[in-house]
């Protein structure tokens, strides 16, 4: 059903966990729909130096979380916001049609984490 890349990120997820004292945290999704994603980021010198996730959801949701936390590391918060759901899907080698909403969740959780970080005041306007 899933691409090899998805299966790999699902079975060996990168960046599982929660950053203690994170600079930004974003949560997206709701239980009724089946998926909830939490992404926490740590920012230093306008660079996202660490990102972690905790996800309740299906294989695609977990793979998306793993992939997006990988993709975001090393990026500026501003560039992180430019990561689209399509980018994530492409990096994962595609997702089944009924699982495309999971990629949406990932991008949204990341956006919320960045917004949370900016709200907290450590913002560098790009």
């Amino acid at each position: 059903m899933y691409s090899e890349k998805v299966n790999d990120h699902f079975m060996n997820p990168r960046n599982v966990g929660e950053i203690l004292g994170a600079d930004g945290i974003g949560i997206e999704g709701n239980l009724a729909c089946g998926d909830v994603m939490q992404i926490s980021i740590q920012v230093e010198n306008d660079k996202i130096v660490d990102a972690k996730f905790k996800t309740f959801g299906c294989g695609a949701a977990i793979a998306v979380s793993s992939m997006i936390t990988e993709m975001v590391k090393g990026k500026t918060p501003a560039d992180a916001l430019k990561i689209s759901k399509e980018d994530v899907v492409q990096e994962l080698g595609g997702l089944p049609p009924q699982k495309m909403h999971c990629s949406n969740l990932g991008a949204n959780a990341l956006r919320k984490a960045v917004e949370d970080y900016r709200k907290k005041g450590k913002v560098y306007i790009a």
Partner: protein, 404 residues
């Protein structure tokens, strides 16, 4: 026993409610009908008549499994066809006598969706609630009957929660009021003893692939004297009640599978029950996991759970990476992305319903497989719970599960 080919990894097929492998003897019985015995049963020359005879023999075998007369068996292509045929065919046949149909909330999609079709055609449908085990209350059936009630259809056992319904008691209620009574016995036929006379139903659906028979063959039992309007119209096959050139090999296979199911039933039940009980006992040792359906009164080969804090499809996938094949009623596994109505109907909150997982067993399964599974499953749950944002908050106790 490895019935699934692969990379040499151990494979445990624990999804017999999805479909069964074909019994090798059944396949052997079918083979001639894919080769030289290809005649059309309607043809009056010898090869046609031999095909006809083979079908009639299968009809006897299927009838015998449920203690019915051969002439009461109408072959269909699947359980879903039998269900659609039954519900629509009964309601339309009796539409002059009333417009009210009663089903339960734990029916299979094929019944629920047929009920919705009837609603659009002007019928009124009552969807009876069930208790936390999934039981339909015969008293509730009685109370929901109106002067307009023409048809009652209650599932014999749901493949999602395994609970076996009190069909006999409900059939008595129906009989007393001259209401036609159908049961969807797709998950039970061939797996537990069924005697239509004892059950007292007028119609009963079954599917061969649920008892080691072929896909493409199902049947509807229709008691003598009960009228039904055809779903597949035209032609004189199946006593004028189901048209289409008969799928001779599949029908022959269904007959053989029925014969084997009948003679081997108690052995099969014993085998599956032992493994099932071992699974239930083992899985319930994991914290925050709950059995769904009733403990005692359930399908002998069926163990179903909800696991807190994690989602069903993720469990399925991790299990499948370990060669263990199972099913889930979670929203993510359904193509409609909605939680199973059956789980919601037994009072499981949406969030917890996401953690649904179902294991169903068959003759291929062994104690070693269950041991292997019981070793792997807690690890998988742990791994997924480690990823779950809900785990730390709720550790040590279920906050949202209110079911049985």
């Amino acid at each position: 026993m490895n019935i699934i080919p692969g990379d040499g990894m151990r494979k445990c097929y624990f999804d017999y409610v999805a479909t069964n492998p074909l019994h090798p003897e059944v396949l052997n019985t079918m083979m001639p009908y894919f080769k030289e015995e290809f005649g059309n049963p309607l043809s009056i020359y010898e090869p046609g008549q031999r095909a006809k005879k083979a079908i009639e023999e299968a009809r006897e075998q299927v009838a015998s499994m449920i203690n019915a007369r051969p002439s009461t068996i109408i072959f269909t292509s699947s359980g879903a066809e039998a269900n659609s045929f039954a519900l629509k065919g009964m309601a339309i046949a009796k539409q002059n006598q009333g417009n009210h149909v009663i089903v339960s909330r734990v029916e299979h999609h094929s019944i629920l969706s047929s009920a919705r079709f009837l609603e659009k055609s002007g019928f009124v449908v009552t969807y009876l609630p069930v208790d936390k085990y999934g039981f339909v209350d015969p008293e509730a059936v009685k109370d929901s009957i109106t002067k307009e009630t023409i048809v009652i259809s209650i599932i014999h056992a749901s493949s999602e929660i395994g609970t076996i319904e009190p069909i006999k008691e409900i059939a008595i209620v129906a009989q007393e009021r001259n209401i036609t009574m159908h049961t969807d016995a797709v998950a039970t036929t061939g797996n537990i003893p069924i005697d239509v006379k004892d059950l007292g139903v007028d119609l009963l659906s079954m599917a061969a692939h649920q008892f080691y028979g072929p896909k493409g063959a199902g049947a509807l039992y229709v008691k003598r004297g009960v009228r039904i309007v055809p779903l597949i119209c035209g032609g004189i096959q199946e006593g004028g009640r189901r048209a289409g050139t008969e799928n001779v090999p599949a029908i022959v296979g269904m007959g053989k599978a029925a014969e084997i199911a009948k003679s081997g039933m108690s052995r099969r039940i014993e085998h599956c029950k032992k493994l099932r009980d071992k699974i239930i006992e083992g899985v319930l040792k994991i914290p925050n996991v709950h059995l769904t359906g009733h403990h005692g009164n359930r399908l002998p080969h069926h163990a179903s759970f909800v696991v807190e804090f994690i989602e069903g499809e993720a469990m399925l996938l991790m299990l499948s990476m370990k060669g263990i094949y199972s099913a889930s009623g979670s929203a993510c596994t359904s193509k409609a992305l909605k939680s199973s109505p059956v789980l919601l109907s037994i009072g499981i909150p949406t969030a917890l319903a996401q953690g649904s997982i179902v294991f169903s067993l068959g003759m291929s399964n062994t104690e070693e497989e269950v041991d292997y599974f019981l070793e792997e499953f807690p690890r998988i749950i742990n791994r997924l719970r480690e990823m779950s944002p809900f785990m730390k908050k709720k550790e040590g106790g279920s906050k949202c599960y209110t079911g049985g």
